[in-house]
Point group: C2
Chain length 234, copies 2
């Protein structure tokens, strides 16, 4: 566990970007009485395949990858979380143990609201349930789309799509070009269903073609339309 870094934990409930922002002040107050905070260093495991979900985790700070282990321990990243989003909620609401593992990509702060409190507020506020249903429905659509592209697109298309996905999820740095997340080549590969070698190779090719530029883990998108064309082409 890392040191507290002046994080105001109540923010993850009040934050207007959160699904919880639709709650009444009273309901928010109730949740604030029933959460704890946890800190995770870069690389730390937040939860593991097989673990029992303890409550609703809200990622307050940092970035998290959620992946499944496949054939021969090969990782497939199924989701990338950002603040202020839920993590581990799928297993919680399915009343299952976790079927994926969450690892901090950066130092993270996470708030955990215990299960009973969440369920109580959901029963009192239909809007929250409706929002959660909508989130799940969108996420499921995304997952279906991902299944198709990961199975059908060629390496270039898959990588291009992943880069666009990362850009859409985390946005750009101030230069409006650098994707605001720094992944190892291995993680890029595990996101895109390819070997690390091929991720490295294909990133280099993209750089040679002037579509992106690479500086270590810093990836800058130089020609987004072309990247989109590569993704669409498949």
């Amino acid at each position: 566990m890392m040191q507290e870094r002046n994080y105001n934990a109540d923010d993850c409930i009040d934050n207007p970007k959160s699904v919880l922002s639709i709650l009444t002040p009273k309901e928010k107050e109730f949740l604030k009485q029933n959460y704890t905070c946890a800190f995770y260093k870069k690389g730390e495991i937040i939860f593991k395949e097989g673990d029992k979900p303890l409550g609703l985790m809200i990622l307050a700070e940092g970035k998290v990858k959620i992946f499944k282990e496949g054939v021969g321990g090969r990782e497939q990243i199924v989701r990338m979380a950002k603040p202020v989003g839920f993590i581990g909620y799928r297993a919680l609401f399915a009343e299952e143990n976790h079927t994926a593992t969450a690892v901090a990509i950066e130092d993270c702060v996470s708030c955990i609201v215990d299960k009973e409190s969440v369920f109580r507020v959901m029963r009192s506020n239909a809007d929250l349930s409706m929002s959660i249903i909508q989130s799940f429905a969108s996420e499921l659509g995304f997952s279906h789309a991902r299944t198709v592209t990961l199975t059908q697109k060629h390496i270039r298309g898959r990588l291009a799509e992943s880069l666009i996905f990362l850009k859409d999820t985390y946005g750009y740095e101030d230069d409006n070009k650098t994707i605001k997340i720094y992944l190892s080549r291995e993680d890029v590969a595990n996101l895109s269903n390819m070997t690390t070698s091929n991720a490295i190779r294909t990133l280099s090719t993209f750089a040679q073609e002037g579509v992106i530029s690479i500086d270590g883990r810093k990836i800058r998108i130089l020609d987004l339309p072309k990247l989109e064309r590569i993704s669409d082409l498949g």
Copy 2:
């Protein structure tokens, strides 16, 4: 549209297997006042990618495949529906147009409850919302698992898994061996992320090995443990 075949449409709301069975008699009555029925012949399109969802469709009779079109029009089946289950509900609850196409595998009966009525009952009955959330959460877990196996397993493993999936979804005929759904080799291929040729070839191999027997579209599982081993092996 096909002829009515003496189907008692109210059954799809009263059916104890349905998520709707948890509703109060009053709520059920309300839904029964607000649905219409539709009949589809084998091969007919129920809804198409891009269509706007009109309401909550309950598949009352028949079997339905839901698929997405990928690179070069190649189909990927993302779901197989059976009675009494919802169809097209993902798009409805995501407030999106359909992102997949549904086609009747057999002659089908479907009840459509209009959107407003569904949403009203959901707001009045938190248990229904909770059930729907749980369904979505399970389905999302299934989709993630599927993504991994479709990308990572080899052809034999993917086909074995698909056959087990079909058996788990539709069950056996009275002989306790024949999978209770009759798909074309093309559909089997589109479910398992492979070409039709390879589906045919691999089914033949399984038959030669005595794991299954094939008689046209009738597939009988002769050695389930072995089939599971092939699936787990990858």
